[in-house]
């Protein structure tokens, strides 16, 4: 190949201005256009193998241009913004104790992480990336995604759920819509409180088996952030926001899988927000201020249940825990087929099996599904498909046990938590459930 020609082919040529028009106009700077054939030197060689027609007119062949994705440094900028906003919010929550400023920060986060960064990758979704990376070491997890997962948890371990207060765009958006929050009552709170555990368990199960990222699939607000999504996604987000008018932050409280992790981390946090900076004057003003039912009332009376009875119950529970875990684990493992049915490899195996039964019976299939067509051109053998699917199925069997066991354990621990004797004189926030939104602080007449 003549040297001159090669250098000509490797020339990088900017795209005409028209093509640079992007919907938001913002990526224009980040779009670096390269010549495809130049990036793949083997391809450039290959092109030479079969030359283009020899044109007699002055026609020159245009070069195929592909836009480059968003620059990698921007991912680091996101991490930087995350750290900074986490720090600021933590400072606002713990030191400034200003609801208004926290609200302002939440608007900023909504604008940056929500509308500018369009909600991806978020800390909630990063759960799945991390669990997939843990179980599949061919899956490359960028450090920035890992940091998105880790950093809010680390902050929470020390300062409570300040991430939820004003950094997470989901929380910020729902917070805006909490117009008429209603107290849900203990029963509903308790029962609905189990949902996030199920969601987390399923999300990890499906991510670890490489089946699906259900958190992202059912991400309610990402469509709103992008002004572009499927119709179903909009409806989904819209309904959730509407329900959020009465049930404040429904996603955060009753769905968010990351919330489960934050909840447990926050319970052991070092410095959590307190309603009053000093002594509680028992004015009871904050009692109904929390839209999230996260304020605990003082308990000075004694439990009506006698102490020996409680101890007995506690011991019974301790004995029962393994059984509960086993029973729900068994239930989970029985769901193996249903759960694995969501996996594309299992779906394909099912289709192939149906096809081969039909073919063995001598029926010719008129119209193959696209999956079958793709399978036929892929060169995979039937048994390869089956063994792949049974490997997945096996994973789901183990995963089903773990998932069920996890739910059982979570419920057992929740029951256990309701048995620990309590004595407190002040109004305090529930360290697990409190989003550090500072509404209660606003109501507290005691100022520092």
């Amino acid at each position: 190949m003549p040297a001159g020609k090669e250098s000509e082919m490797r020339k990088i040529k900017p795209l005409p201005a028209k093509a640079l028009k992007t919907p938001a106009g913002k990526t224009a700077t980040t779009v670096i256009l390269t010549l495809v054939s130049a990036t793949l030197s083997t391809a450039a060689m290959a092109v030479q193998r079969f030359p283009k027609p020899e044109f007699e007119s002055a026609y020159t062949q245009p070069q195929t241009l592909v836009p480059l994705p968003r620059g990698e440094f921007l991912a680091w900028m996101d991490v930087f913004v995350l750290v900074v906003s986490l720090s600021i919010v933590t400072w606002l929550v713990l030191k400034k104790r200003s609801r208004l400023l926290v609200f302002a920060m939440s608007v900023f986060s909504l604008a940056y992480f929500g509308f500018y960064r369009e909600g991806c990758v978020c800390s909630i979704g990063a759960i799945q990336n991390v669990s997939l990376a843990l179980f599949d070491n061919t899956f490359a997890l960028p450090l920035s995604v890992l940091l998105f997962f880790i950093l809010p948890l680390v902050y929470t371990a020390f300062f409570g759920r300040t991430f939820c207060a004003a950094v997470c765009p989901f929380g910020a958006l729902q917070d805006l819509f909490a117009f008429k929050p209603q107290a849900l009552g203990s029963r509903l709170n308790t029962v609905l409180g189990i949902l996030p555990y199920c969601y987390l368990g399923l999300a990890v199960l499906f991510a670890a088996t490489g089946t699906d990222f259900i958190i992202c699939r059912y991400d309610p607000f990402v469509g709103i952030f992008r002004f572009n999504a499927s119709f179903g996604m909009f409806i989904f987000g819209g309904i959730l926001l509407l329900s959020g008018v009465f049930i404040a932050r429904p996603y955060c409280r009753f769905l968010c899988p990351y919330g489960v992790l934050l909840n447990w981390t926050s319970r052991f946090s070092r410095r959590h927000i307190t309603i009053t900076p000093k002594e509680c004057i028992q004015c009871r003003l904050c009692e109904h201020s929390c839209p999230y039912d996260a304020i605990e009332i003082p308990v000075t009376s004694k439990s009506p249940e006698s102490r020996p009875a409680m101890v007995k119950k506690m011991m019974l529970l301790t004995i029962l825990v393994p059984f509960m875990v086993l029973i729900s684990g068994y239930a989970g493992s029985r769901m193996q087929d249903t759960l694995a049915g969501a996996d594309s490899r299992v779906k394909l195996a099912k289709e192939v099996m149906a096809l081969s039964v039909m073919q063995d019976a001598g029926n010719s299939i008129q119209d193959d599904s696209f999956e079958i067509k793709a399978y036929k051109t892929s060169g995979k053998t039937e048994s390869q498909v089956y063994s792949e699917a049974s490997a997945v199925l096996k994973k789901f069997y183990i995963g089903g046990w773990l998932f069920g066991g996890f739910i059982g354990l979570a419920i057992a621990l929740m029951i256990g938590g309701r048995m620990i004797p309590v004595y407190r004189t002040d109004y305090v926030t529930n360290k697990g459930r409190c989003f550090s939104c500072l509404r209660c602080v606003d109501y507290c007449p005691v100022k520092s």
């Binding site: 290959a46 007699e56 245009p62 990698e72 991912a75 990376a133 081969s356 696209f370 793709a374």
Partner: protein, 222 residues
């Protein structure tokens, strides 16, 4: 009593932090993607890009979604399953592969007798593929990206009857790079893969046709 509670709290907090450290450590050290590492962002200086064993997570490689045209069967789901409307997947023309045919299988409806740009002859539902006369008997075909909805009709025609120079590709200026690509989930042939952001294109090109091409399609089985 408060001291004991405080101690337990610290213990648990330490446990949680240790668990987090363990998770991140294992994720960083275990995820090695040698493919993603070749000649990349962090590896370009070391000179042994292929054999590099630096954990991919440390190389901070962003991964983006791309469609592998050699696996694509043009089912049309790119047009309907993308979270974006119109889809972020669009037809890209690898000019170097194009035969500049008069009778273009990607442009014209099958069975068309007169080869012209009349609406009734066009395969593209949105008129996004443009035909321009160059010289007898060559025609240039270009994709107008604004109009393309990524349905892959022209791609199917071109790969069946022509050289396959029209190919579907994720356009990264439109792609939101969702954590999980909605098209990938619905792709029947697993043609969607994560590729390193510094090599975001998987356009296929000539040379494997026809002599080195046997491996591409493979032999179909029962």
């Amino acid at each position: 009593m408060p001291n004991r509670r405080e101690f337990l709290n610290t213990l648990m907090r330490g446990g949680i932090l240790a668990a987090l450290g363990l998770i991140s450590g294992s994720v960083i050290l275990r995820s090695r993607d040698k493919n993603a590492c070749s000649g990349g962002f962090a590896c370009s200086s070391c000179g042994k890009s292929q054999s590099c064993s630096l954990p991919a997570a440390l190389a901070a490689r962003q991964m983006v979604w791309q469609l592998d045209p050699s696996k694509c069967i043009q089912c049309g789901r790119c047009a309907t399953n993308c979270v974006m409307t119109p889809s972020a997947v669009k037809c890209t023309h690898a000019y170097a592969m194009c035969g500049y045919c008069d009778l273009c299988g990607g442009y014209l409806k099958p069975g068309t007798k007169t080869l012209d740009t009349a609406a009734e002859h066009q395969l593209c539902p949105t008129n996004a593929l443009k035909r321009k006369f160059i010289e007898d008997p060559f025609f240039e075909y270009t994709v107008e990206e604004e109009l393309c909805i990524g349905c892959g009709k022209c791609v199917k025609g071109c790969s069946a009857f022509g050289n396959g120079s029209l190919q579907l590709q994720v356009r990264h200026d439109r792609c939101k790079n969702c954590n999980e690509c909605s098209i990938a989930r619905n792709c029947p042939s697993q043609a969607f893969t994560r590729v390193p952001a510094n090599k975001p294109s998987l356009l296929k090109s000539f040379g494997k046709e026809p002599l080195e091409d046997a491996g591409r399609k493979g032999v179909r089985n029962a």
